[in-house]
Every structure is written in C-alpha cells, then in structure tokens.
C-alpha cells in the first residue's frame, strides 16, 4: 500500500525483506516473481560487464536465482543489508568469476554439473560421485508423494504442521511418521540400487 513521501527508504527495505520472507514461506511462484523482476536488468548488466552472450547470461542468471533461493531456504540469508538487486548481482559475479578461474578461460556454464559441484563442495567431506548419482536414482524411484514430503522437510525446511496442512495429513504427528517411513524406503532403495551397480562392476571385472 502507498506510504507517505518520507517513508520511501523504509518501504524499500521492507520490500526487500518481504521478498525474503515470502520465499522462505512460499515456493515456486515467489521464485518466479523474483526471476521475472530482476531478469532484464541482470542480463543487461552481465552481458555488458563480462561480454558474455545473452544465452550464457540467462544460464548464469538462473543459477544466481537458485543460489539466492537456496540461501534463503537454508537459513543463510535472513535479512538483507543491501538491495535484492545488489545481492543477486554479487552472486552472479561470483559464479562467473569462479567459473572462469576454474576453466582458465571463458566457456559456457554446464548448469547441472555446476549445481552438483556447488552442493558437494559446500559439504566438509568429499562425496563419492557415483553414490550421489545412485541416490538420485533411488529418489526418482521413491514416487511423488514420498518425494514431495521429504523435499518439503529437508529442502524447503517446512515444519510438520505446514507439511501436514499442505499434503492433507490428519495431523503433524501423522506427517512425521510418514516422513520416517519415506526415509526408510529411500534408504532401502538406495542400498538396492547401489548393490545392483556394484554387481555390474564386479561382473565386468
């Protein structure tokens, strides 16, 4: 709603932090809104500042938005001291500089590979990439209701009450029990898939 003239800066800060709040408690729609809002300016800036193509700029922008989203969901970003725009430009600049540093020159970014490396490098222990891929297969076999539930809990950091309401469980306790069952199923599927691939490896040798 409109505010008196003297309140513009308070209003701006409020809007920035409102965006964070909305993403934390919301989902895809809020992500889409942020994407649409800053897209034009970001693309104009990155293509001009780093002489990359429009398509490469879009790839970097998509990763930027995902990292922004991830930082909010993981609780790393709670309030902004700068504007959302400055924050996004900062992420984009870091992604591009780090990519150029690794590749020694400018090459188009492989988004899925980049995301995987980003998540793996964030952990203190280095993970077995093969096991990581097998976990992905197990997750795909888990089926959508279970997968959605554990995604909401482990990634979107939703509470059991929110999950219970969104997925229409009887109560938060039922949602919690269901989450434990889903994780048990995921572990079982992972072990099955892992032993399958190990059998193949043994057979080859």
């Amino acid at each position: 709603m409109g505010l008196p003239d003297g309140c513009f800066y308070i209003n701006a800060t409020m809007i920035q932090n409102e965006i964070i709040k909305k993403i934390r408690f919301g989902g895809q729609t809020e992500l889409g809104l942020v994407y649409a809002e800053y897209r034009e300016e970001f693309l104009r800036w990155i293509t001009k500042a780093y002489h990359c193509s429009d398509d490469d700029g879009k790839d970097i922008y998509q990763l930027t938005i995902l990292i922004f989203y991830d930082n909010i969901k993981q609780g790393k970003l709670e309030t902004l001291v700068s504007s959302v725009k400055t924050y996004l430009f900062g992420i984009g600049k870091n992604i591009l500089k780090e990519h150029i540093r690794k590749e020694k020159r400018y090459t188009p970014i492989h988004q899925e590979k980049w995301l995987k490396e980003y998540l793996v490098e964030e952990q203190t222990q280095i993970r077995d990439e093969h096991a990581f891929d097998v976990a992905g297969v197990a997750l795909a076999k888990l089926g959508s209701p279970c997968r959605r539930l554990i995604e909401m809990f482990y990634y979107e950091k939703k509470s059991m009450s929110e999950i219970s309401e969104a997925l229409q469980f009887k109560n938060p306790e039922t949602a919690k029990n269901q989450k434990c069952k889903c994780m048990a199923r995921l572990r079982k599927l992972f072990e099955e898939e892992l032993s399958k691939t190990q059998n193949v490896i043994n057979h080859v040798y």
Partner: protein, 247 residues
Amino acid sequence: MCTDKNDVTLVERYFDADLDDVGMQDVNSRLEADGAFKALFEQEQLLIQAIRYHDQRDKLHYLKTMEGHLSKNVHKASSRSLRPWHYLVAATVIGALVVAFVWLSVPEDPNKLFQAYFTPYPNAFEPGVRNIHKGTQRLLALHAYELGDYETAARGLKQAYNDHPEPGVLLLLGNANLTLGYVQEAEENFNTLIKNYDDLDPQAKWYLSLCYLKRGDVDRAKNILKELSETEISYASKAKELFERIN
C-alpha cells in the same frame, strides 16, 4: 553395515535437529569411534544432499520453462513495435542527429514513450499452463494471456478475479486491459491492487504510471515515476530513466 534400528533412528533424529545435548554428544563420539555408524551417518547425509540437488534441478527446469515464455513475450513485443534491424540502425543514426538537436528542448511524446516502455508483465504466477481442457477459468485465462490473446485473457481474468480475488490475477488483468487500450479499466485494476494488497505495489505503480502516460496525464505519471525512482527496487532505474525522458 553392523548398525541397528536404534542407530538409524539416532542418525535420522540428528539430521532432523531433534536431539538434545546428550544425544548430540552421543552421535559425535560414535562418529569418532564407530566406523559402521560413521558410514550410516554419511549415507544419510548423502541422501539429504541428493534431495536438495534434485529439488534444485526441478527448480532449474521451472526457471527454464519460464525463461522460454519470457523470451517469447519479449520477442512478440519487439516484433509489434520494431521494424527489421537495418531500418532500426538507419533510424538510430538519423535519430541521433535529430535528438542531438532537440533532446534538451522538446519533451518526448507521452504516447510514444508509453509504446517504448510498455511490455506486458509476464505470467510469473503459473507459467507453462498445461491441461487446459481440464482447467478452471483462471487457467484458461492464464493460457490465453501467455498466447497473447488478451481479449480472452481479460474476460477470463476478470471472471477469475471476481470468483476468487488474488493480486497476481489483478496485475495480469490490468496488463491485458492496458494492452487492449482499455486504459480506464487498467487504471482501476492497478489502483485496487495498490489499495487492497501489499504484494505487488511496485509493479502496480509502474503500470499505473504507464496508464497515465498513455492518456497524456504527464504530471501524475511523473509523480509515480519519481516515487519509484527514489526506491531501491528493480523498477528504480527504468522509472528514473523514463522520468528524465518525460522531463
């Protein structure tokens, strides 16, 4: 792995942040001394990491779908308002000479400025609408909006808003009306959006300023643009640019 069900529960509770200090200490000491327990712990960590990665990947596909629609919209908007590029280059060169002459003395035509700055807001609310044969009035209208069929979109969005008022629908309805030249209706839509909701104020104000510009009410357009240009939101730079061009 030589671990029992209690260990699985213990690890799961660790990652669910459901352990007290004693439980946390138990996990930490077992991690140092018990190899099988450590393997179980790392497996759980890996699975949670994979959940996060796959959700990120799904979100990436969603952004790509959205990008496809946004690029299409920009392309449509450009093809409506621009001639082929070589004409544009020629016009720019000639224009630059003329502009150098009149830039500081003659304010630009508000309607032309409207044409240059108006791009319908993308459907960021439910892009890539599918299964429209099973869809509600709202989905049909969003689909029409994405296709650029603004007549159908305006009718459907109006109905959808009356049935179930939500700010996103009102923003798109205002945009559909403005695209069709129904400036008064669009103004009403954006004013309602500013008055009744907090969610989309900057967007509503930006498009409201374009409504004023479209009907030649330069002073009111300038007031809003000045307000937007003094904020730190994403519209600030283009609001400032447009404000200066009107001046």
